[in-house]
Every structure is written in structure tokens, then in C-alpha cells.
Subunit: 447 residues, 2 copies
């Protein structure tokens, strides 16, 4: 299934546009590289190629809300009620089907890896499933789709600061940091044998949903190499609640709890103070922007260039999966910056590519894709479509869309090929449409 | 070539989702409509359909800059220098090829009509071509592509307020409003015979490029039914120049010149005062937002909802054609509003559809598409693609992209069909790539 040698006509990587490149894939890594050479017989021959994109933030089941929440205005908070209703309908088999279909859409869009920020752990009443059923559903779905999964198992303890979980949040909770940690370490053992390729990461839902003392406990207890993610200051109301309860911003709460470090990814980071930006930059955190979601939910435009200048490492994610398109996320990031500043080229095409690929993978605890010594994860794009024709190769990520993805390669294996996989994409679409139209039917599927 | 009867499974129109609709096409108009009926033999059978989208603002040759201007930052003004260099290379045959290819991309994206804001009238030194060569090139290109064209022939007299044309602007100018009007009326006669379907509209480039007295002269002299367009307050610098020269905003200059009326379309309208919004709303002008361009060029987010509330009629356009996708323009309009307001659903899906279809057509002097008594212009979209699966039909315009367009129908004729036209699209892409890579070669083509 996986090629030993891959020949690439035009490889856009690290600020260079390289011609006639041959990469040797060895156990999913790029072991050797030749420049300016012809293809050999048996090579997998590709045209214009980027390293694969890393989707640093996903809630996979939100995909079912796509195109179903725009009728009656509202805010992030009213949208969240619809999302909770959907979360209440999920069963392990339905969750696996939805995730497999959505992950398939992701590989078809050029994402080679995904960080699934996962909090639907338990039964609706909060009682545990017998054997990590929801987490195993995700692991199987990723294997089905061929995407690289970092499962960000999420600690979720309170409805808001100082308040218990609401009934619709019960299935997210573990009852305390210690009990969440216990489950996390059990899950790690469970995965080690069966899914050695899967990265088990961790997440703290937010300062709304995890008390500061529990944040500190988790930051101390998790092994240092484990990627840790958190939603940060997506909404002004979160900042207000944090200031009221702790007398400090959410970022300052994280700093105080010892959670700010290079292994941390803060998601959204929309409403920050100048002091927050300094703290996040000095810690060298990953800041994961989700431009299509932040526009859809009316979150606002976060201070991307300020965070970047301060030393934070920017990545992007698809979040609610209303859009699954790494090019549109990157274009949205740059568009937001241009609109805020009324100047162009806030991030260069080279920087945007780095944000979308290497840094996204880094946020997920993964080595860089597409380089010697890194992961053999690549995306081939159509440089001669009606959208992309005439673009310079290094600017294609500002002109194409996910429909221009020809092949996605993960660990040297072609996990998506446009000309081969149309039936597979149609099946994914049918599965998604069925569950979206009738979420209640999911509860009836045997769990 | 054109069907007499068209049967539609799901027609999304005017706030309703209608099932099993049969439309009778008579000389390009919808002459009769049946609801809840089966298809008959010989009907053109369609799935999910919207009225066709109206592209209320295009500079077709800017398409060649797509994916070639992002390397070195800059602003709107530095981008404009690249655009002028390109404008200087155009010859009538090259212009026709570029326009035919770009218009083909437009029909493939679901645009049924386009307003071409056209100012490259003359030879590089300003000397006229023998017979409206550039304008006829556009007319032929539109006929080749099958798109409905409103040619907005543009008056362009000064480099900035009170300054002569720069050398690179000479080919845009006619030397005075009276001479421009003379050419406009001659052009009208020329087109009347040969291109009776084409709408000849007019444009004033901007208050930067046309003196207030000339604006008044044009507003008076043009027949009342002729659509008139103008770039308005795209950049803060334009407002500053207008205030310095006239002591009033560009909008107030238009008001004073008697140019504000329902036949006027103001393009961009990004940087407006509260008083400007009142004036534009009371006049019932069309306000043409170009969200993908306004983001790309760092123009800023204009006051769309304020204009709408004041009485202006919103439409969208693709402007520089860095993106050709009516769904992404509409989504961009709504996204900008959500980001400004931090609430969702600023425009309902029904309002967005109206903006994209009926009002776009109205801005171009065209009757509404897709209704009885209106133009038989329709777009069929794929409601079961991996992007659109699960969406409610009336929310598809927030989830699909131009790649989901299956067919575009203009005047009852299928001018684009995805499964049929891939060779045609490839040819358009090849033409565009060739000219984009080597604009100088255009000058060598025989004019």
C-alpha cells in the first residue's frame, strides 16, 4: 500500500519551491531525499505537493450541525444549546460512523493529522461505558479514514466557574481531576498495545469548566511530553467570569496554575489583554486559530500577529467542522489580519504554510511532515484547476480550495486519491446526511 | 439548446423551499410555473436549484493577478501598481481570451450575470481603437462563455482629484465627460444591432477619477433606465482627498451632483460616515460588497447591516476575481457582519440568497432570475457532496462552494454542466495560466 519512493515535480516547503524531488519512505518517515533527479520505475509520481496540513482543533460530531443552525440568528451561547442537544444523542456506534465520515472528509481536504478535542466520554447520565467505548470509537474511525489522530482526552468538571454540570453536560464529566487523570492513564495503557500510532494527548476544556486547582493538578501530573490543549478566551463572557471569580484573566489563571509551557496549545485566544499576549508569547505556547468557526460563531478576530510577534506558535484548526478546508482556514487567518490592519501580506505565504503544516503537527505532538527525518505526510494539489491556474506554486494555498486536493499521503501511504475515492466520499456524505437529518435515530442504534 | 420545460426537485427561492416545480421557458423568461407535479418526458430535470447569482462587480483581467501578489506585503496602493502594469499589457485579442476564460469560470461557479466595470478602453497612449475593439472583445467573450453581460463602460478622467492621468492610466481616459458620453452613445448604437441581449450600463470610476462637475453632467445625460456604478470609499485615503478638495465625503459629493438614486450602485462603501449611510439608504442605492476582495486588499469591513437597515439594497461582486465563488462572497459578507457584531445570523439565509440573486441582477439592470415573469436563469447545486451533505436546502449557500455547482442555466439554456464541461474548463485554465505567467506576451499578439 505504501510506496518506497515518491517523486515530486514541485515541492513547496520551508520557503522553497523545489523541483524534481525524490523522497524515500521508511516506516512512514522520510528517510532520504534526492533533488533534481528523474523519477524511477515504481515511484509514486506526484505533481505539486505541500507537506500535509495539521488540523489542531476538531470536535468531530459538530459536523452534523453544518448548514442547520443559521435560521434564527443568536449567539455562540444559543448555538451551544443546539450542540448540547446533539451531544446528548451520540452513541458509540453512531459516534464512530460520524467520526469515520468526517475524518474521511478531512483527508479528502488535505488534513493529514487531526487533534480531536474529545469530551463526550460517558453515557448520558454520566455513568461510564464499560471499556472506553467512545475513545475506541474515535481510534477505529481514524484508522478507517487513514488520518493520523491525536486524541485530546478532555477534562470537563463544571458547568461554569463554581457551578456543577448541567444535566446535558453530565456525560462530559469525570467528577474531579484525580478521577479524570486515573481514566487518562488507563486509556494510555489501553491504546499502547492496540493503537501504537495514535498519540494520546490531553485537554482541559476551559477555565469555565475546570477549576484553577484542578488545572494545576493536571499540569503537574501529566507527563511532560504529552500535548495539552485548552479553549482560551473565545468569548468576552469567559473573561468576565474569570475576572469575577479569580480576579485575573483566563491566561493569568493558567500562568498561576503552572500550565503555560511549550506543550500547551491555547485554542481561539480571541479576547486577550496585552499582558495575556506577553505571557503566552514568553511561554512559547501554540495558539490555535479556527478562522472559519470564529467567523461562523461571531467570536471575533483574535490578535494573531501580536501573538506571533510575542513568540507564540500559530496553528489552525477546523473546530466545529462547518468547513473542512485547510486552505480556507489559512486564508481566513490572513484575511482577518488584513481586515484588522488594512495592509496586505501580514503573514507571508511561507509563514502561512508553516502555520498550516509544521506547527499544526507540533501542536499535536507530531514531528514535522514532509522533511527528511520527519513524517512522510504530503498533499498533492491541482495547480491547473480553474481556481488555481496561473498561481505561483508557493501562493496556491491562497487560491485553491479543498476541492483541489488530488492526493493525501499519511506515513507514505495514499489515504485519499480524488480519482479513486469518489464512492468512498459519497458514502461518507450519505452517512453524515442521515445522522444530521435525524439525530434521535442515533440513540436507537445499539450501544 | 434550450429546454422548453424545466423540472426541479427542490427550488429554494424567496424564503421558500418548493418541491417538484415545473417551469416553462419562453424566449429566456419563466413564462409559466407548476407546483407539486411530476416531470414529463423531455423536461430538463434538475435536483436542488437556486436562482442564478448576479456578479455585480468585476474587473475581468485582474484574474491574471490571482496567486501572484502575496509575496511582499504592501497595501491596496502597491497592489494597484501591479494591476496597472498588467492593464498596460492588454491587447484586444488577449483581452477577449482572458475575459472568455474568466467568464467561463464565472458560469462554472454559478454566476449567471456579470457587471464588467470596464475602463481599459483605448491604446496604451490613449489613442482610440478603430471600432470599440476592447468593448467588442468583452461582448464576444461573454457570448462565448454564455454569461449575461452588463457592460459598465467607465468614465475615468483624472489620476486623483485635480490631477491629470498618469502615463499608465492614459488608456482609461476619454478627456472629458462630454467625450466619454459621446463614445457611450455611439457604443450603444453599435451594440443595439449586434448584441441585443447585452445591457450597456455605465460607471463613474470614483470621485478620485471623475470631477464633481463631470459626475453631475453624466448623471443628467444618461437615460434614466441605465444602471450606473461607482467605486465608493474603498479606502480611507479617498475620503481624505475628497474632504480636502470638496469639503465633503465622496457620498456627499455624489448627493450634491445629483447622482444618488435607485439606478446607482456604489461599490465597496467600506468607510462611511453615519450621514453617508443615511444618504445612501434614503436614495435606495445598490451597495455592492466584494467580501473576498475587500479582505484580500485589506480594505476593511464595511457597514453592511447599517446600510441595509437604512434602505440600501445589498448585492455582491467578485471584483478582482482572486476568488470566483458566489457562495464564498455571501458567506464572507455574513462572516464580516458576525465578526463585527459578535452575534450570528445577521442576514438570514433567505436575505443572503436575495442579495446574491435578485438584488445582484437588479444592480445590473436585469429582471429577477428564477421567478415567473423573470429571467430563466438558475443554478443547480450538489446537495449531497461531502461539503453539503446534511445541510438544509435553504442553508446550502452557507456550506457549499463553487465546486458544488452542477449546472448553470442562463435564459433557459444550460451554459455550464459539470459532467460535460471539464475539457472546456481545462482550456480556460490553460489560457489563464499562459497569460498570467507571461503578460508581456500579450502585447505581441496582433491587435
Amino acid at each position: 500500500m505504501s510506496a518506497e519512493w515518491i517523486w515530486i515535480d514541485t515541492l513547496v516547503r520551508g520557503g522553497h519551491t523545489l523541483r524534481s524531488v525524490r523522497l524515500r519512505n521508511e516506516t512512514g518517515m522520510v528517510a532520504e531525499e534526492q533533488l533534481g533527479v528523474p523519477a524511477c520505475e515504481g515511484d509514486l509520481v506526484l505533481g505539486t505537493v505541500f507537506p500535509a496540513f495539521g488540523n489542531a482543533h476538531s470536535h468531530v460530531f459538530h459536523r452534523l450541525l453544518r448548514g442547520r443552525t443559521h435560521a434564527d440568528g443568536g449567539t455562540f451561547w444559543s448555538w451551544r444549546e443546539k450542540m448540547y442537544a446533539l451531544a446528548g444523542s451520540l452513541t458509540p456506534p453512531a459516534f464512530e460512523s460520524i467520526a469515520a465520515a468526517s475524518f474521511t472528509e478531512m483527508v479528502a481536504s488535505g488534513w493529514g493529522a487531526v487533534g480531536e478535542f474529545h469530551y463526550v466520554h460517558h453515557r448520558v447520565d454520566g455513568a461510564p461505558y464499560p471499556d472506553h467505548d467512545m475513545e475506541l470509537a474515535l481510534a477505529r474511525a481514524a484508522a478507517t479514514a487513514g488520518i493520523r489522530l491525536t486524541l485530546l482526552d478532555t477534562c470537563y468538571l463544571t458547568g461554569s466557574i463554581g457551578k456543577g454540570l448541567a444535566p446535558e453536560q453530565l456525560r462530559f464529566g469525570d467528577g474531579g481531576a484525580a478521577r479524570w487523570l486515573e481514566r487518562w492513564f488507563r486509556l494510555r495503557e489501553r491504546f499502547a498495545d492496540e493503537y501504537p500510532e495514535l498519540v494520546l494527548g490531553a485537554a482541559i476544556h476551559s477555565v469555565r469548566a475546570v477549576p484553577a486547582t484542578a488545572i494545576a493538578e493536571i499540569a503537574r501530573a501529566l507527563p511532560a511530553e504529552v500535548p495539552l490543549h485548552i479553549h482560551l478566551s473565545e468569548q468576552v463572557a469567559e473573561n468576565e467570569q474569570s475576572l469575577a471569580a479569580y480576579g485575573r484573566t483566563p491566561t493569568a489563571v493558567l500562568a498561576e496554575a503552572g500550565a503555560l509551557s511549550g506543550r500547551l496549545s491555547v485554542v481561539h485566544a480571541t479576547h486577550l489583554s496585552d499582558g495575556d499576549i506577553v505571557l503566552l508569547g514568553e511561554a512559547g505556547v501554540h495558539a490555535v486559530f479556527c478562522p472559519t468557526t470564529e467567523a461562523d460563531l461571531g467570536d471575533g478576530l483574535g490578535p494573531a500577529s501580536e501573538l506571533f510577534a510575542a513568540g507564540a506558535r500559530l496553528a489552525v484548526g477546523s473546530d466545529q467542522n462547518a468547513v473542512l478546508d485547510p486552505l480556507l482556514e489559512l486564508r481566513g487567518l490572513e484575511a482577518g489580519e488584513r481586515l484588522r490592519s488594512q495592509t496586505r501580506g501580514r503573514f507571508s505565504p511561507e509563514q502561512l504554510l508553516d502555520i498550516g503544516t509544521r506547527v499544526g503537527y507540533s501542536s499535536l505532538g507530531l514531528q514535522a511532515p514532509g522533511l527528511i527525518g520527519g513524517l512522510c505526510d504530503l498533499v498533492e494539489v491541482d495547480a491547473a484547476s480553474v481556481r488555481t491556474a496561473g498561481s505561483l506554486p508557493e501562493q496556491l494555498l491562497l487560491t485553491g480550495t479543498a476541492s483541489d486536493v488530488i492526493r493525501t499521503i499519511v506515513a507514505g501511504r495514499v489515504v485519499y486519491e480524488r480519482s479513486r475515492d469518489s464512492a468512498r466520499l459519497s458514502k461518507a456524505a450519505v452517512d453524515l446526511a442521515r445522522f444530521a437529518a435525524d439525530p434521535a435515530a442515533m440513540a436507537e442504534e445499539n450501544s
